[in-house]
């Protein structure tokens, strides 16, 4: 799976209130949330982001609330991938859970500027900055987490598990 798009660059500690302000948490669909994504730190984002674009940020991206609305808003906005120096723990879980690709790569972050073109190869964990020509590796996922990502998120992954357990029970009967 390859993602190709423009860079939207942000700094350290982009918090969940910045990604989706709490005043919009009375809705829960990705489409509704996407309209307000990044609103308080970058009012132009939601209107100008294009499918496949990549958010590139510093340390501790997604710190704060457990609101899954944050990765949902980013996914709903069409963002193909988030690349950061590091992610806050709950945001990391939530992104994996909802099937939003995220990669940790400090070198790729340092190299990327707003507007650069990136090509991200998720299988190989590789970030190619088409503007600078540099290619950067990303932190690999543990194998079982890669299975969740390949299944399309935690719900389809768990459905397979539940189904497998049911079949195992029927076989043993």
């Amino acid at each position: 799976m390859t993602i190709k798009g423009r860079v939207w660059k942000y700094g350290d500690n982009v918090d969940t209130d910045a990604i989706i302000p709490a005043r919009y948490l009375n809705v829960s669909t990705a489409e509704e949330l996407a309209a307000h994504c990044m609103e308080d730190i970058d009012a132009g984002f939601a209107g100008a982001v294009r499918p496949g674009d990549v958010i590139v940020a510093g340390e501790n991206f997604g710190c704060g609330s457990s609101r899954e609305h944050a990765p949902l808003a980013i996914k709903g906005a069409g963002v193909g991938c988030v690349v950061a120096r590091s992610f806050a723990r709950i945001f990391f879980r939530n992104a994996i859970g909802v099937g939003l690709p995220i990669l940790e790569s400090p070198a790729a972050v340092d190299d990327a500027l707003a507007g650069h073109q990136l090509e991200v190869d998720l299988e190989r964990g590789q970030i190619h900055n088409l503007t600078t020509g540099a290619v950067h590796p990303a932190e690999p996922y543990p194998p079982f987490m890669m299975e969740i990502i390949q299944a399309g998120g935690l719900v389809p992954y768990t459905m397979r598990q539940i189904e497998a357990e049911r079949e195992a029970r029927e076989v043993s009967r």
């Binding site: 948490l25 809705v27 829960s28 340390e59 457990s66 879980r93």
Partner: protein, 423 residues
């Protein structure tokens, strides 16, 4: 080699003799928690897990807790719809622990109080401040709605066993210094990512002597240092709190003396003065004496961090016989119906109203800019809540200063951020 508290609790709930930091496990969960913001998405994902036939049941109705606290009492029609989704689900699934307006409280004040969480539990909550229950010696951590859905369906969840940072507090606390000041000071030292992915063990003679309320405040803000959990050893204070409340038998854990830590931090608590965290990160903490002249428009006393009886007593001590400054809206929000009733019977609510403060039914409301105290552009609030991110309490151009109930109450009287000794 010895084991940390996190390793001990997670081993016991992963059905293994020992687990080590860095290991991925599947843990059985004792309580799954959601609120009116996060549960509606979890309920939608839970329905997907049931497949086309639907009719999926939660793994154990007595282990799923739903609390309408964020935008409840319903602030608008959309919020009302979200609470309705949760109410309908609770009815369909026969959930005995669904807390609605009239019996609810802010979830992290309510669950310990009701004995729903006990020492030794593994708790996953679709709310980042679920780490509060570490004060009881439970491994409790915030997750998202999809995780909540899976945990409701299976009673299990994948986890990575965290490394642990041990923070040891020694010395004698100065007057007006409590759990909030300790934790704000600590976050100032280690930063908002200082314990990212890790557990924190709060230890040392100072926290051993701390009340359960003070410990709940500290554990609550572990997430503000990026932590997965904030743990306290189970001791007599814990047992005295849990006795008569616990709905289930409990298990006392403490770390081994030779446990392996990512980092051990020693803090001389004698040096810590009442703290205030400046916008827009909780790590921007400093002694309140160094705050300068910060005029305020609003003071919030409440929340899952500081909405307990001890917090209201401290605030009342400072507001008794005094008046809230003419330019300040002071809003006091007891954290649960129990806290509200106790505060009423003790005469605290009378003190607040006579001082010119508003007293609200329990709600998270203003903490996340939901309702009951949203800020306009350019306005400043001193608040006993836990986050001061840009726009957290309302307009993106507003500001939140985090502090203890003592500092918030004193500042409400002074009209600017002050040390409690100044009033």
């Amino acid at each position: 080699m010895g084991r940390t508290m996190a390793e001990k609790i997670l081993a016991s709930r992963a059905g293994q003799e020992t687990v080590r930091a860095g290991q991925f496990i599947e843990a059985e969960v004792d309580i799954v928690l959601g609120n009116d913001i996060t549960a509606p998405i979890a309920i939608r994902e839970f329905a997907k897990l049931g497949g086309d036939g639907g009719g999926l049941r939660v793994f154990d109705p007595e282990r799923v807790v739903l609390v309408a606290d964020h935008f409840a009492p319903n602030k608008d029609i959309k919020s009302a719809e979200q609470c309705a989704v949760m109410r309908r689900f609770a009815r369909e699934q026969n959930l005995p622990y669904h807390y609605d307006v009239g019996c609810m409280g802010i979830e992290h004040v309510l669950l310990p109080e009701e004995g729903l969480v006990v020492p030794g539990d593994v708790v996953v909550g679709a709310d980042s401040h679920t780490c509060t229950y570490g004060a009881l010696g439970a491994f409790a951590t915030g997750v998202g709605s999809t995780d909540m859905a899976v945990a409701m369906a299976t009673g299990r969840l994948w986890m990575r066993v965290p490394e642990t940072v041990r923070i040891v507090y020694s010395g004698q606390l100065q007057p007006w210094v409590g759990g909030k000041d300790l934790v704000l000071h600590t976050i100032g030292q280690i930063g908002v990512a200082g314990a990212r992915y890790m557990a924190i063990e709060f230890a040392g003679p100072v926290v051993d002597a701390l009340s359960m309320e003070g410990r709940l405040t500290m554990a609550n803000m572990a997430i503000e240092a990026g932590a997965k959990a904030g743990l306290f050893a189970v001791d007599d204070t814990t047992r005295a709190y849990v006795e008569g409340r616990a709905l289930r038998p409990y298990c006392s854990h403490r770390a081994d003396p030779d446990a392996s830590y990512a980092r051990v931090i020693e803090i001389d608590a004698s040096q810590i003065e009442p703290q205030v965290a400046f916008p827009h990160l909780p790590e921007n903490s400093r002694a309140v004496d160094q705050a300068g002249n910060v005029l305020i428009d609003q003071a919030i006393i409440g929340s899952c961090t500081n909405g307990r009886l001890e917090d209201l007593r401290v605030a009342a001590e400072l507001l008794r016989g005094r008046q809230v400054h003419a330019g300040v809206r002071c809003i006091v929000i007891p954290g649960s119906q129990r806290v509200y009733l106790d505060a009423l019977r003790e005469g605290l609510l009378e003190v607040f109203v006579e001082a010119g403060a508003a007293v609200s039914t329990p709600t998270c409301g203003p903490c996340l800019g939901g309702h009951m105290g949203v800020l306009a552009a350019g306005e400043r609030a001193v608040s006993t809540t836990n986050r001061n991110f840009r726009g957290r309490m309302g307009h993106p151009e507003s500001e939140v200063y985090l502090a203890s109930p003592a500092v918030a109450a004193a500042s409400a009287v002074a009209g600017r951020i002050v040390h409690p000794d100044e009033v």
